[in-house]
């Protein structure tokens, strides 16, 4: 795959006047294999401004989570960034010393995961876990750190926060646990929050509460948020801008209203159609076939095998091109509204 040779696209921001809190430029991630490395993410560029929420959407295996982990410097063993850069407030994180990165992680950039039970230490009270985090970064007394932690738990909607500090993770329900995770991630007021499917395991009503909470905190802290989800409907409710990923690359990026009003890439259109529900007896929308695994991507357009709009030119890999107000990686984009 020679896509890392493609020219870097200028970062498109919904609010061009603002500084990019997090900028991902031409990011390539591969997995080392015996014979040759396998590309997992190719030439991914995305920027998030302070106070902006960007949704990152795509099917499982599209590289969303890897992109997030790369930003955190937490890629698993054998997987590495091979090209491109991730800048946090203008400072490059790629190749940064581990010690320095540790300081930034938590204080400037934070992440919440799908399964809060796996991210919390089951043997430690949540209070001590949060205080530990604060003390690792801030030079304050344990009592002050405790006060900060209680305040944030309270802010995150945990009732009787001071008392609940003494509870263990298993004593919380799934939704409350995710609130604890959010409180723990935001305890140092980071500039960037990456949320990787934080509500997928939760009930819809609980999910609505978490979404509300993140929207509130974003306003309050002017945080930049990347919200990863496979649920376009959810992202539509909370993001300002959406990037749609397919097979390791961004295929469409646009403001949220624009994306839903005029989806340009056939994949985006298929996702929207799949998520729409109708009356009893109506056929369910879907995208035929399934995502090709990394290492088996077609040389041309990676979506072509599942696409209904294939042209002869689709055997060449398309570039992300500007179309109206959207970035679209397709040579035969959709023209009308999403109803077609």
């Amino acid at each position: 795959m020679n896509s890392n040779l493609l020219p870097e696209l200028p970062a498109r921001s919904a609010n061009p006047g603002r500084v990019g809190a997090l900028e991902i430029a031409g990011l390539c991630i591969s997995r080392r294999e015996r014979r040759q490395p396998i590309s997992l993410v190719t030439d991914l560029s995305l920027s998030v401004a302070d106070g902006e929420i960007v949704g990152l959407v795509g099917e499982s295996g599209s590289g969303k989570s890897l992109t997030a982990l790369a930003c955190m410097g937490l890629l698993p063993r054998g997987v590495a960034i091979t090209a491109g850069d991730v800048r946090l407030g203008g400072i490059s994180l790629v190749g940064m010393e581990r010690k320095k990165l540790r300081v930034l992680r938590g204080s400037s950039i934070s992440m919440i995961f799908q399964d809060p039970l796996a991210s919390l230490d089951p043997c430690a009270r949540i209070g001590s876990q949060m205080v530990e985090t604060i003390l690792a970064h801030k030079d304050i007394s344990a009592a002050e750190a405790r006060k900060d932690a209680v305040e944030l738990l309270d802010r995150a909607g945990i009732p009787r926060a001071a008392e609940r500090m003494r509870c263990y993770p298993h004593e919380f329900s799934g939704g409350m646990r995710q609130r604890v995770m959010i409180a723990a991630a935001l305890v140092l007021k980071p500039r960037v929050l990456i949320a990787d499917e934080p509500t997928t395991a939760l009930d819809v009503t609980t999910q609505a509460g978490i979404v509300e909470l993140v929207l509130e905190l974003r306003r309050e802290l002017d945080m930049a948020v990347i919200w990863i989800s496979h649920d376009l409907g959810l992202v539509g409710q909370l993001a300002d801008r959406v990037a749609v990923m397919y097979a390791g690359e961004v295929v469409e990026v646009a403001d949220v209203q624009h994306l839903f009003a005029v989806p340009r890439h056939p994949y985006t259109h298929g996702l929207i159609r799949s998520g729409r529900r109708g009356e009893f007896g109506a056929r369910f929308g879907f995208i035929r076939g399934s995502v090709a695994e990394p290492g088996h991507w077609p040389g041309g357009c990676r979506f072509a095998p599942r696409c209904d709009r294939v042209l002869a030119g689709c055997d060449r890999h398309p570039e992300l091109a500007l179309l109206d107000k959207a970035g679209v990686r397709c040579i035969n984009p959709m023209t009308g509204g999403s109803g077609q």
């Binding site: 099917e59 499982s60 799934g174 009930d203 819809v204 009503t205 609980t206 999910q207 609505a208 496979h230 649920d231 376009l232 409907g233 959810l234 539509g236 409710q237 839903f260 009003a261 298929g270 996702l271 929207i272 799949s274 998520g275 729409r276 529900r277 109708g278 009356e279 009893f280 007896g281 109506a282 056929r283 369910f284 929308g285 879907f286 995208i287 035929r288 399934s290 995502v291």
Partner: protein, 253 residues
Amino acid sequence: MTGVIEMEAVTKVYRGRAGTTAVDGISFVVGEGETLGIVGESGSGKTTVARMLLRLTRPTSGRVLVGGSDIWQANRAERKRLPRIVQAVFQDPFASLDPRMRVGPCICEGSCRVFGRKEAAADVDRLLDLVGIPRRYADYYPHELSGGQRQRVAIARAIAMRPTILVADEPVSALDVSMQGQVLNLLTDLRAEFQLTCVFISHDLGIVRQFCERVLVMQRGKVVEEGDPGEIFLAARHPYTQSLVAAIPRIPA
């Protein structure tokens, strides 16, 4: 009213220090060829209902009738016949298929005991066609398939028994949105072709509205609302149902 499935004041209390009442005295009837949806949040007791219907969890009290006879009072012969009447598709196709069994044998594992090895094995190709999986996949192992394909195999395995009742417990919640439609359309087609009576369990009221003729809304083991899913979707009466409907993230039309 009599139906193919009848639950009469069924209660399930799981033993423990406090004793959790998972299902609290619920009654419902499913008519022949009807699809009943059961929605509710996690912990509302939907899966326990399915398990009692499949004879996997014994009710603490009440009766579960399939075709007029109580499956929990069944004699040996009746118990043996039950899998030919009721079949199930579960949520996680990664957990419900034996990882060491190839797709073909997996599909006819149950049916070859009923219809004989020869007939059941001959049926595999037809079943694979039916669920839209290439015939050569019969020699594959489950790990070689995608989530959607695995769920199709699980469906083929259920249909192989030629059941009249299909219980589907969150059959698409583990799948990508783009795959859910494929599997749901397949279930819709099979339901029509074999005139199946279905119990469809889901947390997604949107899917239930499109797939089911009638819906029960469960909360803490009790049925709080029952009716036409389309009507409930537009005008839910119970506050719990209203909160469920309001919380569904919707794609702008």
